[in-house]
């Protein structure tokens, strides 16, 4: 975990060093988190996990309808990356968006009330799980069409550059979206125009029911930018410190005006693609093995214990989160549905 340059693998030591034909980012290091920082990461991951478990529960009760995609298992990715952002930066993702929203600072009850389709929801109940936004928190969705957020996010980056506001766009997409054509149209323009964007491929290994190997001719997704001269880094997405370390490296690259960068986060979702997915395409053992060996929250917990954080402090943190999530769920159940008149509002901004 040393941050000192000496700790890095030194490629110069090799007898026949490969000479890169263009500049590449350094291999990211594990982030050296203080006890307080790591505790914060732990809490954030736990909030997402408990929030999603609750959402799954409410879905089972019929309080949440439609499509609902849970982020359980992937928490370290968003926590590691978004903890490195500044308030100038913008975030956009697809439909597995609840966790990213919580990390943008959107209150859990606003998100949960949207899931239950209530007036108090972040989109007044008109968006639902897949279509949530908060301009105030620079969270730009929440998009239901696989891959759309990649071009839209590139547009956000275009805006940062156009306004010269120093911001960076963080655009998440999955291993499935990585095969969409518009992703490559966007890569091309982003590199051509040196846009400040981090493309984050959350590779949870299944595009709904199709594994990466069955859908991707180049399954090392961090290499997908090669044709556009966009460098890529593969990251252990189950380790929050590795994720944060990668974010540091990527942000340094992008903020230096070197154009886009790709982070492939190797991660895993424990639940089905959506609530209605029986997940027959993988074995129960496979899921269990990841849970047992690579769970990001357990990993962080172990590190915290090693750093001397007391069991009861972790318990207290957990209890506070449970309480927060339960309150959000109670609120989302009780707060009223939108007024029928709301049907006709917000179709257009102006009157004609």
């Amino acid at each position: 975990m040393a941050k000192a340059p000496a700790a890095r693998k030194a490629p110069v030591a090799k007898a026949q060093p490969p000479v890169p034909n263009r500049e590449r980012p350094d291999e990211p290091k594990l982030y050296e988190a203080s006890k307080e920082e790591l505790l914060e990461f732990y809490k954030q991951m736990l909030l997402i996990r408990r929030f999603e478990e609750k959402a799954g529960q409410l879905y089972g009760l019929g309080l949440i309808g439609g499509f609902c995609h849970l982020y359980i298992g992937q928490e370290a990715v968003a926590v590691g990356l978004q903890s490195a952002l500044s308030d100038k930066d913008s975030v956009i993702t697809g439909y597995r968006d609840h966790g990213h929203m919580l990390l943008c600072g959107i209150p859990p009850k606003d998100v949960m009330a949207e899931l239950t389709g209530r007036q108090a929801g972040i989109s007044k109940g008109k968006g639902g799980s897949m279509h949530m936004f908060s301009v105030e928190h620079k969270f730009y969705g929440g998009h239901g069409i696989v891959g759309a957020q990649v071009s839209l996010g590139t547009g956000l980056a275009f805006g940062h550059k156009y306004r010269k506001d120093g911001g960076v766009a963080l655009a998440y997409f999955g291993d499935g979206a990585a095969n969409q054509g518009q992703v490559y149209e966007s890569f091309n323009m982003a590199e051509l125009w040196k846009l400040p964007i981090i493309y984050v491929i959350e590779n949870n290994q299944y595009a709904m029911g199709t594994s990466v190997n069955r859908s991707s001719a180049e399954d090392q997704l961090y290499r997908r930018g090669e044709s556009f001269r966009i460098p890529g880094i593969q990251v252990d997405g189950m380790d929050v410190l590795a994720c944060r370390g990668a974010a540091e490296e990527a942000l340094e690259w992008v903020r230096a005006g070197k154009g886009p960068i790709i982070l492939e986060m190797k991660t895993y979702r424990y639940r089905g693609h959506s609530m209605s997915d029986p997940a027959k395409y993988r074995s129960r053992e496979e899921v269990q093995a990841v849970r047992d060996k690579s769970d990001p929250i357990e990993h962080a917990k172990k590190l915290l214990e090693e750093m001397g954080v007391k069991e009861e402090d972790l318990k207290a943190a957990e209890q506070a989160i449970r309480k927060q999530v339960n309150e959000a769920a109670d609120f989302a159940e009780q707060t009223p549905e939108p007024d029928p008149a709301e049907l006709y509002t917000d179709v257009l901004v102006e009157r004609y």
Partner: protein, 471 residues
């Protein structure tokens, strides 16, 4: 025998051009591929190459000549070994009848009968687009000074004025910057605003429609030009799923103020994949504003309004109209209201409702009908969504008869929408069934004769009006 070198058609809609410069002189030998002249169309300067070998005999059209019709003999070429014959000038020779290129954009159509001959359907549309509104826009103060300009210039001025006014406005698309626009609509913008605001994109409609939408969500005001709306089908997901729905899905907090613009509808002999009217497609989508102007004044005033509004706009232009000139008010900041139709000609016997290039045909039909004693009121919808139902119903109340004219397919069209409105909300005012006059319900064919049959024309409108007026 001397070979005649004729003024070439350098684009599908070109009818005439300026012979800017001769690069050869009489007596020069040329071989195939040699550049003989530079010819300017309203879109570009093109080099004109020799096809045959020989000696330039006589130059019949001097350099600098403007308005040289396609097909005019501009020089003669003597074959090898021939005496440079001083060919009899046939300078005013009309285009050959076999000339397949439909004649395109020309303000002053020659008086020669051969040139008035209508060859294709697009030609009919184009000819009819000479018609100015018979009544002035009532929104204009009386005595407003007018300026004659092409639709293309009006659109360019609208963009330039809005870009001067608001630095969030930028334009992106294929060939919009260095090439000055595939149809020269963005001519001069790069010079004035620079490459940060006038942006050439690769040929990736889906990608840049998404980038534009994302930039709009992030607070900018993009104008995304599609080289034609046919190519926007690659990008329609972002227009509909990203741009149109964002405000609603976010409960009104995230906006997408973007203008998607470009030519729409049938051009000239470009056949099925490049000739379709997307008006009805986009007009069916809540959350979008859809504008399809006919004349240059509306094009300018409505494009400025489109750029200013906070809603996403699909702005449908017409390639055949780009080179047409109309009166545009000389007003500092000419902005028109979105969603308001306009009476283009007043009448009491029948209402003809149309939009875009169909308005020209409707005005032409109205002139013909007037000679037969039928006074037609012509309404230009201008905005297809939101549709100005009130204007349509008020006119129906007055005339009790209605024909809807649309350069587009009949099924699930703007016409069928107007028919539904007339039936649902104007039933008691109807003295006859409302009829629609549209293109045939087929992909647009390439063959000149078939294209002509497939497209809407003024005769079909006249026939429909006679039907609803029981004449």
């Amino acid at each position: 025998m001397a070979i005649e070198i004729k003024m070439p058609a350098l684009s599908p809609t070109m009818e005439e051009g300026t012979l800017a410069k001769w690069l050869v002189k009489e007596g020069d030998t040329v071989k195939s591929g040699d550049i003989m002249a530079e010819i300017e169309t309203d879109k570009a300067t093109m080099e004109f190459e020799a096809v045959d070998e020989g000696t330039i005999g006589k130059i019949l059209v001097a350099e600098g000549s403007e308005g040289v019709k396609v097909g005019t003999v501009i020089a003669t070429l003597d074959g090898e070994g021939e005496e440079p014959a001083s060919a009899e000038p046939k300078a005013e020779a009309p285009a050959e009848e076999t000339e397949e290129k439909p004649k395109g954009e020309s303000e002053e159509t020659g008086a020669s009968p051969a040139q008035e001959k209508v060859e294709t359907g697009a030609r009919q549309l184009f000819e009819a687009a000479k018609h100015d509104a018979a009544v002035a826009d009532p929104a204009l103060p009386e005595g407003t000074e007018m300026e004659r300009m092409t639709l293309r210039e009006a659109l360019r001025d609208a963009m330039a004025e809005e870009m001067r006014r608001d630095d969030r406005v930028f334009v992106m698309g294929e060939e919009v910057a260095q090439y000055q626009g595939a149809y020269k609509v963005t001519q001069g913008l790069l010079d004035e605003f620079g490459e940060a605001r006038v942006i050439d994109t690769p040929i990736t409609e889906y990608g840049f429609a998404g980038i534009g939408s994302g930039a709009a969500m992030g607070g900018l005001k993009p104008i995304v030009e599609f080289m034609t709306f046919n190519f926007a089908m690659q990008a329609i997901d972002h227009i509909i799923n990203s741009a149109a729905k964002t405000n609603y899905m976010s409960g009104g907090q995230m906006r997408c103020p973007i203008v998607f613009r470009g030519p729409n509808g049938a051009a000239s002999r470009v056949a099925a994949q490049h000739s379709q009217n997307y008006g009805p497609w986009y007009a069916s989508v809540p959350g979008l504003i859809v504008i399809a102007p006919y004349d240059a004044a509306d094009a300018k005033g409505l494009l400025k309004a489109a750029i200013r509004t906070d809603d996403p706009v699909v702005f449908l232009e017409n390639e055949l109209l780009y080179g047409r000139s109309f009166d545009v008010p000389k007003i500092d900041d000419y902005v028109l209201p979105i969603g308001k139709a306009r009476i283009m000609r007043e009448g009491k016997d029948v209402t003809i409702v149309s939009y875009s290039i169909g308005v020209g045909l409707s005005l032409e039909a109205a002139e013909t009908l007037a000679k037969e004693g039928i006074e037609a009121e012509v309404i230009d919808l201008r905005t297809l969504r939101p549709l100005d139902k009130k204007a349509v119903l008020e006119s129906l109340k007055k005339t009790n008869r209605m024909v809807v004219v649309e350069e587009g397919w009949p099924t699930c069209s703007i016409s069928s929408e107007i028919l539904a409105i007339a039936m649902e909300e104007g039933f008691d005012d109807l003295d006859a069934p409302v009829l629609r006059v549209t293109d045939e319900d087929v992909p647009l064919p390439y063959a000149a004769n078939l294209e002509k049959i497939a497209l809407v024309n003024a005769d079909k409108i006249v026939a429909a009006v006679k039907k609803v007026t029981y004449r």
